[in-house]
């Protein structure tokens, strides 16, 4: 029987287990050492593995990622922590130009097995620079993989998969879920494969595609619709690049209606891409336009009132589902 852990504890457990399993795995980032990380994700690791495998770095996001790439070229599997996903922009070039292109420009003769952990997302009162969801920047870059777990189980299993993957993986961990999402986690060596979505709730009437902190309100909205006689199938994408096309298509071929929910802003968020792929490849199966519930095209404000106005929530999702059901 799997034990219950919080999402954050699941991340820490994955790191510890992978470091015990493989001496080539190490972590680096700001405050990850004796302090244990801004959110505590690396607590205890420095005591166990020492300062050569749990490396406190200067405030140098580009160097944190560049150092990871260099180590990866020599067979290591570094896990770099961005203190907040918002700060990943300071290391952007090393991810999108250095890591993402390396195998391609080496003629296939190199791998870059790095993981960049990025605590993302709002609803935590973080304001403009501690609330962002920058996943779309990386989905737009071939050569990367992008994952975003919603449960403690996936937080652990996907992090283990990311560490073992030979490609650069950007791992978005949602701050709202750190202590709120609790549940069973896989024991030991079990991983959650990258590229495979999970159906969180079966349904025949509408397909709802979402991930990370939007899975919760999506499930609540689906419950409301069920009371109105509409069964919503909620699919947790888990991996955003490469996303699980086959799970998406299988579901919509049954439901013929699709709602996409994400906390990232609307314009060119992953919803735009999912919608376009559905139009291109499954247009004949649609009975209604693909709809999106997303953050508006604005920044993440500090005021609770303003942030709440922006965040997708159960009511907004419910309303969109009703529109789709009535179409």
């Amino acid at each position: 029987m799997a034990k219950e852990l919080s999402y954050l504890d699941a991340i820490r457990e994955a790191l510890g287990e992978e470091m015990r399993r493989d001496p080539k795995v190490f972590v680096l980032g700001e405050d990850v050492g004796p302090y244990g990380g801004a959110f505590g994700a690396t607590q205890g690791l420095c005591d166990e593995f020492g300062e050569m495998r749990v490396i406190d770095t200067p405030i140098s996001e580009s160097a944190i990622i560049g150092v990871s790439i260099g180590a990866a070229l020599r067979g290591y599997r570094p896990v770099a922590e961005m203190q907040f996903a918002d700060f990943i922009s300071c290391g952007f070039d090393q991810i999108v130009n250095q890591a993402a292109t390396l195998r391609y420009r080496y003629g296939g003769r190199a791998t870059v097995p790095i993981v960049v952990r990025a605590p993302s997302g709002g609803n935590v009162g973080g304001g403009l620079y501690h609330s962002q969801n920058p996943e779309a920047w990386f989905i737009h870059r071939p050569g990367l993989k992008v994952v975003a777990p919603s449960t403690a189980y996936d937080a652990k299993g996907l992090l283990k998969a990311a560490i073992r993957d030979d490609n650069p993986v950007v791992y978005f961990e949602h701050k709202y879920l750190y202590r709120r999402a609790k549940g069973p986690v896989p024991e030991g060596d079990e991983i959650v494969p990258i590229g495979v979505a999970a159906t969180r709730r079966p349904g025949d009437d509408i397909t709802l595609l979402t991930y990370a902190a939007m899975v919760g309100p999506s499930l609540e909205a689906a419950d409301k619709l069920a009371k109105e006689g509409v069964e919503v199938e909620v699919i947790d994408l888990r991996t955003l690049l490469p996303f699980d096309k086959s799970a998406i298509f299988t579901s919509l071929e049954k439901t013929n209606r699709v709602l996409i929910v994400h906390e990232d802003v609307k314009t060119l968020g992953i919803g735009a891409e999912l919608s376009a792929v559905i139009m291109e490849e499954r247009f004949d199966h649609l009975d209604a336009p693909v709809l999106r519930v997303t953050y508006p095209d604005t920044h993440a404000p500090f005021s609770h009132v303003l942030e709440a106005a922006n965040l997708p929530n159960t009511d907004k999702i419910t309303e969109a589902l009703r529109r789709l059901a009535a179409y």
Partner: protein
């Protein structure tokens, strides 16, 4: 023309001749590439290091296979000295299937982990954080291998330079930071991009030594390198060596370099590292006129062979435009 100074490092005659061969080969390789661009046989991506060869030969000479180099875009010669065949290098410039990147990119954007070569992107200075990562692994493994990382004076103004040298200083990494100060960042002269005279002065703020030397004197470069290598291999951390030199050609082969005077170019050409070294070797009776001709003939045949190989190599198949993105 400043005379070559005697060094305290004893080099056998064979070694001096080998240095001479590399100087001639690297010069001739770049000159041939320049001609091939004019003939339309190489499309672009040629950034010659003509005039700067003493830096490459003085720093790469005698490196171990296990040592890593992180060249900048003018350092084609360092690839050759570290073991890439002239054929593969020429095929790389011809964008052929047999090149290092299989036609994906030209120039020095590819590398070889087995030979200890990291190939950078076009983002100048972005190789330096990666160099720090490579150096970190040598420190973790308690080996005495080193990293030799190259950058221009222009790249010393990029943020990655600061982040990388700072972390290298903090972690006492076994790295030689070699600045090729060729006086121009594309068209911008050094006095417009730095308020100090010597890039070497920047090392002090990272807690290690920096020295500015005559980069056109191969033995001066070699001597400074040997001292820095001994410190790095002995666990005493990084050194910055600023090699003052001059870029004879434009930034790339299309650049006529109208932003500088003929007098300035002529002055630097009078400091050409190759005749200076030739005179020195002939004075020592290490090199005879006949021997010089023999070496020049050997260089020409190596390059002719490389051009023939590259010319006759196949283009990559169109399907390879989308392969090698993921491991």
């Amino acid at each position: 023309m400043p005379p070559i100074k005697r060094t305290k490092f004893k080099l056998a005659h064979e070694q001096l001749l080998e240095m001479f061969y590399w100087l001639k080969l690297i010069r001739a390789f770049d000159e041939r590439l320049s001609m091939l661009v004019k003939q339309g046989k190489v499309r672009s991506g040629v950034y010659t290091g003509i005039g700067q060869e003493a830096i490459i030969v003085g720093t790469c000479f005698g490196l171990r296979k296990e040592d890593f180099i992180c060249p900048l875009h003018r350092d084609l010669g360092s690839f050759l000295m570290k073991g890439v065949s002239p054929r593969a290098m020429m095929a790389q410039m011809f964008a052929k299937e047999t090149g290092l990147s299989k036609g994906r990119d030209s120039a020095l954007h590819s590398g070889d982990n087995d030979l200890g070569i990291f190939g950078n992107t076009s983002m100048l200075g972005a190789n330096l954080p990666v160099a720090a990562g490579l150096g970190l692994t040598f420190k973790m493994e308690k080996t005495d291998n080193v990293v030799v990382a190259y950058f221009g004076e222009g790249a010393s103004n990029v943020g990655d330079f600061h982040e990388a040298l700072n972390i290298a200083g903090v972690q006492h990494l076994p790295i030689l930071f070699i600045c090729e100060n060729n006086q121009y960042a594309y068209s911008v002269p050094v006095e417009k991009s730095m308020a100090i005279d010597d890039v070497a002065d920047r090392a002090e703020s990272y807690g290690f030594d920096g020295v500015a030397i005559n980069g056109n004197d191969v033995l001066a470069v070699y001597q400074a390198t040997q001292g820095a290598l001994a410190r790095a291999r002995g666990g005493q951390g990084p050194t910055l060596i600023e090699c003052k030199t001059y870029r004879w050609h434009g930034h790339s082969e299309h650049d006529k370099a109208f932003y500088r005077t003929n007098e300035e170019l002529a002055m630097w050409k009078s400091r050409d590292p190759i005749p200076t070294f030739t005179t020195y070797l002939k004075g020592l009776h290490v090199l005879t006129d006949d021997h010089e001709k023999e070496i020049e003939g050997r260089v020409k045949s190596v390059i002719d062979d490389a051009v023939e190989f590259a010319t006759n190599s196949p283009d990559p198949g169109p399907e390879e435009a989308i392969t090698d993105l993921y491991a």
